[in-house]
């Protein structure tokens, strides 16, 4: 699903160049559930942004679902993101003036699906995350866990190949975090590839493979007990 080789990425701020990713080789198969760990500044978010086509890269090669992702126009990038990738963010990033149902339906809006139809589909996904009763509530009326589940439903609705989650549990308490991870596992079981960036060990242990980043390199990677259960 994701094939990365020799990936380099630098940020240029003024005269300073900050070399963040220094040659990453990484392959994630379809249906995997991977967590990327590392301390702050290790480049884990940058890697996720590159994978999510939110950011470009300088050197190397990146294939997503068999397609070379390189020098895309904004329009193409938007299309790939819409078709193949679902995003879950630490701060949920729901649109404040749209209710839960409309937030979930938003990706379908950009696919030009008629309102009635996309709201029907959105209701199905809301039911999947157990929040159908909250469909007409605005994000400000929901708890953190509820918001994150809305965001997950939004990520799922366009039927993506990969879900990228950037610190999805960072703003949640432990109990809610575990519930969210349980939801992720269910999604993964349905065949969707999950890539989760986190710095919490207990969260990463709930995925099947852990990749440790340190100073722009992959320090180590190993499979967890969870994967063995399924192996």
């Amino acid at each position: 699903m994701v094939e990365i080789s020799g990936l380099h990425k630098s940020y240029i701020t003024g005269t300073n160049s900050l070399h963040v990713l220094k040659g990453i080789d990484l392959t994630i198969e379809a249906g995997e559930m991977v967590s990327i760990m590392g301390s702050s500044g290790s480049g884990k978010s940058t890697l996720l942004n590159v994978i999510g086509i939110l950011d470009g890269y300088d050197k190397g090669e990146y294939n997503l679902n068999g397609k070379v992702i390189r020098d895309l126009s904004e329009k193409q990038a938007a299309w790939y993101r819409n078709q193949m990738i679902g995003f879950v963010f630490q701060s949920f990033n729901l649109i404040s003036f749209k209710n839960a149902l409309e937030n979930v339906a938003l990706p379908l809006y950009y696919q030009k699906i008629p309102r009635r139809k996309r709201n029907k589909i959105a209701a199905e996904y809301l039911e999947k995350v157990g929040l159908l009763d909250w469909a007409t509530h605005l994000p400000s009326e929901l708890s953190g866990g509820q918001k994150q589940r809305i965001a997950i439903a939004r990520a799922l609705i366009s039927n993506p190949k990969v879900i990228l989650a950037d610190e999805p549990t960072g703003a949640l308490d432990t109990q809610t975090s575990y519930e969210v991870m349980e939801l992720f596992k269910e999604i993964n079981d349905s065949g969707i590839t999950m890539i989760i960036v986190t710095h919490e060990k207990d969260i990463s242990e709930r995925t099947k493979r852990i990749i440790h980043l340190k100073d722009g390199f992959i320090e180590k990677e190993y499979k967890t007990k969870l994967s063995l259960n399924y192996a």
């Binding site: 942004n49 999510g52 939110l54 950011d55 904004e74 329009k75 938007a78 299309w79 993101r81 819409n82 078709q83 679902g86 995003f87 963010f89 701060s91 990033n93 729901l94 649109i95 404040s96 003036f97 749209k98 409309e102 938003l106 990706p107 809006y109 950009y110 696919q111 309102r115 939004r154 990520a155 366009s158």
Partner: protein
Amino acid sequence: MIDIDKWQEIFHTLRHNKLRTFLTAFGVFWGIFMLVIMLGAGTGLENAVYSNMGDFAKNSMFIWAQKTTMPYKGFPRNRWYQFTYDDLHSLKRNIPEIDIIAPTVNGGGFRSSTLIVNGIRKGSFEVFGKVQEEDLIDPVDIEYGRFLNEFDLREKRKVVVLGYRAYEELFAKGEDPTNKFVRINGIYFQVIGAFKSKHTGRWGENQNSEVYIPFSTAQQVYNYADKVDHFSIVVKPQYQVVDIEPKVMAILAKNHNLHPDDKGAFGYNNVGEEFKKMNGLFLGIRGLIWIVGIGTLLAGIIGVSNIMLIIIRERTSEFGIKRAIGATPWKVITTVISESLFLTILAGNAGLMFGVFIIEMVNKALQNSDGEMFQNPEVDFSLAITALCVIIFSGLLAGLIPSKRAVSIKPIEAIRTEN
């Protein structure tokens, strides 16, 4: 198709910042309002001046005799001379560009009035000897009867056409004056008609106190022999009055032994040139109005643009999220532009309507007054359409820069921005 989500978003943003929305909309509102008001007032001024002119032949000139200013052929300067009816023939014969030429004599001399009596009613009015062609040069509205005709002139009939004020003084209200007799200078004249001037203001009042008798009759009853006081000359439409003027003067100079360069021997008035000057003046006024109006409007547009920039800064992360989940840059641009378009069109149309409303109110209030300086202020349809185009264009302009800014931010940076 109505895109509910788009409108929901636009209304949310505008409602969320009520005061700001109002203030920026007011800028555009005021700009359009001022433009409409000023243009309407400009039209009012123009209407007043042009209606003062009535249906006066625009391509025309007047010429009358004055004292000579140069000695010539043994004649001294400061000599009085008179135009004669023969001049009419020689002018007509020698200048084919002339369309109409009409002689006039002032009964009793320049600006002196004659006593006119009808039974116990009487009044003093200026009597002019005119020809029937006069009605083609400075047309009047006939209220009773008819204007002078060829037979009146040929037969030197003692008939008179009364100006409306003369009619009002000499006849009872509503009385038909035709075929009645009035005494002018002791001689009975049959009234053939009464007219109202097409001019407004003082010009109209003056003309309404004038009385016309046939030119040929006037020469006889006032003992003028062959005298002509002034010629009114209308030039064929394809020629310019300015070009004909020297030809007319040359012929008249030859007929009356005037020095060829003695322009001072003629009094003349070139109506064509006056009209051109007036047109130029109004063009200038209109240009100025547009410059000032567009300037005011521009200030409003910049206001809208500014506010949009601030709003976009506040919504950076929102745009980021949208782009992360598949919104194309074009989608973002159109959202921002529709927002500014919506705001400017709403405010602009309000300004347009309010402006037209005020103009119409003023128009209504002025309906019954005969304004010499201001009449019928109006906003015509084409102007309203132009204003509408200006509004739409300005809405696009106001949204352009902010929308460019909105998409220039990378989605990832947009998401990272703190709310």
